[in-house]
């Protein structure tokens, strides 16, 4: 029953919104991962350590450019479910975080506690990719933020182990707290060994996207 509910939830989320899901936010047991993301809203870095195959804990720093808000937090990510098949893999993750937020407005510094929770889901084969990510962040007196992002991806060829893998992707995100609430970003994903690089450009809210992940 639980399996069925989770499966329906995963498929529904994929179909409804399909995400800017960070590539594999939980790694192998004992592995370190560095994840950098930069998009129209923020630039962020997450360094996490995978304690078990289903749990990673990391330190996050995020600079939200529009409001000049700087978030520092501890972020655990839990792999709630992984579906395996011979030709596919699907994942359902939950993440959260707690830390501090600082904002400078008109030369006046204000700060507060920050809490956030997120959900990520993805399904992929060697040539197709669908994902969804949602996050709700509470910045205390600095306000709340909700983000939804979805992705569709297609690989024009199936690269072998260690070769350069290339993906064409389209990301749609919705951020209620921004002037341009919904935006579209076409991007390219390059994968090689332990490194992943994404470059794109937001067409609705003109700005570059640059994401980088490295597994140590």
């Amino acid at each position: 029953m639980i399996n069925t509910i989770l499966r329906i939830a995963l498929v529904s989320m994929s179909l409804i919104a399909c995400a800017t899901a960070v590539a594999r936010p939980v790694s192998y047991a004992g592995g370190w991962t560095l994840i950098e993301t930069s998009n129209r809203a923020s630039s962020a870095g997450l360094l996490h350590y995978t304690m078990n195959y289903n749990l990673s804990v990391g330190a996050r720093y995020e600079w939200q450019r529009g409001s000049d808000t700087r978030v520092t937090a501890i972020q655990p990510t839990f792999l709630a479910k992984r579906w395996f098949g011979r030709d596919y893999q699907a994942n359902l993750y939950f993440s959260g975080g707690i830390g501090t937020a600082e904002r400078k407005i008109g030369g006046i510094e204000s700060s507060g506690r920050v809490k956030f929770v997120g959900v990520m889901a993805d399904w992929e084969t060697r040539s197709l990719f669908v994902s969804y990510e949602g996050r709700r962040m509470n910045l205390g007196q600095l306000g709340n933020q909700t983000m939804h992002a979805a992705r569709l991806g297609w690989a024009p060829y199936e690269g072998d182990t260690g070769a350069l893998h290339t993906w064409l992707m389209l990301e749609v995100d919705h951020r209620k707290h921004m002037d341009e609430r919904t935006s579209v970003t076409p991007l390219l994903r390059f994968f090689k060994g332990p490194a992943l690089l994404e470059v794109g450009y937001n067409l609705s809210d003109p700005s570059p996207l640059f994401n980088f992940t490295y597994r140590f």
Binding site: A29, G31, F84, R86, V117, V119, N138, T161, K192
Partner: protein
Amino acid sequence: MNKTVPLFIAAALATSAFADDDKQEMKHHGDGQMNHADMNHAHGAEHDHGANHEPESHEHHAMAHDHGDMAMIAATITHTNEISAALANGGAPVVVDVLGVVCDFCATAMNKVFSKRNEVAAIYVDLDKKTLNLVINDGSDLSDKQIEKLAKQAGYRIAAIRRDNEAMGG
């Protein structure tokens, strides 16, 4: 933050991160393209050997095996320079069918986990065949259970393990 409560409830309900969708798929041998002697797998209730099955003709390993696509021929070891050199030094070949291997991060994870083991002389993850190829040092042993455990640490699940002649396609 009330909107976040359902997320945590859902997380708490998910008692196991690894779904069991594939464990029950043991229906096979219908197309005759797969040699039973080439497979190591657990024989569950749904397993059909057909009329000519001789129960003593092969060894049954206690290993969950995904037979969702039985049109395939059991993959043999992938030869790389490292694998060939390790075999030439007397190492024992092992081919592991792995579920969910779709990208280089999968390969990296298994490389990292298995490479730490002293028993492993060479390793190669073949994304095309969806196999983990190992050569075990001469005189060492890595049991099926250990391989299964290491794969789980890497975040994956194995479907079958073939060793020695089976791994070499002999």
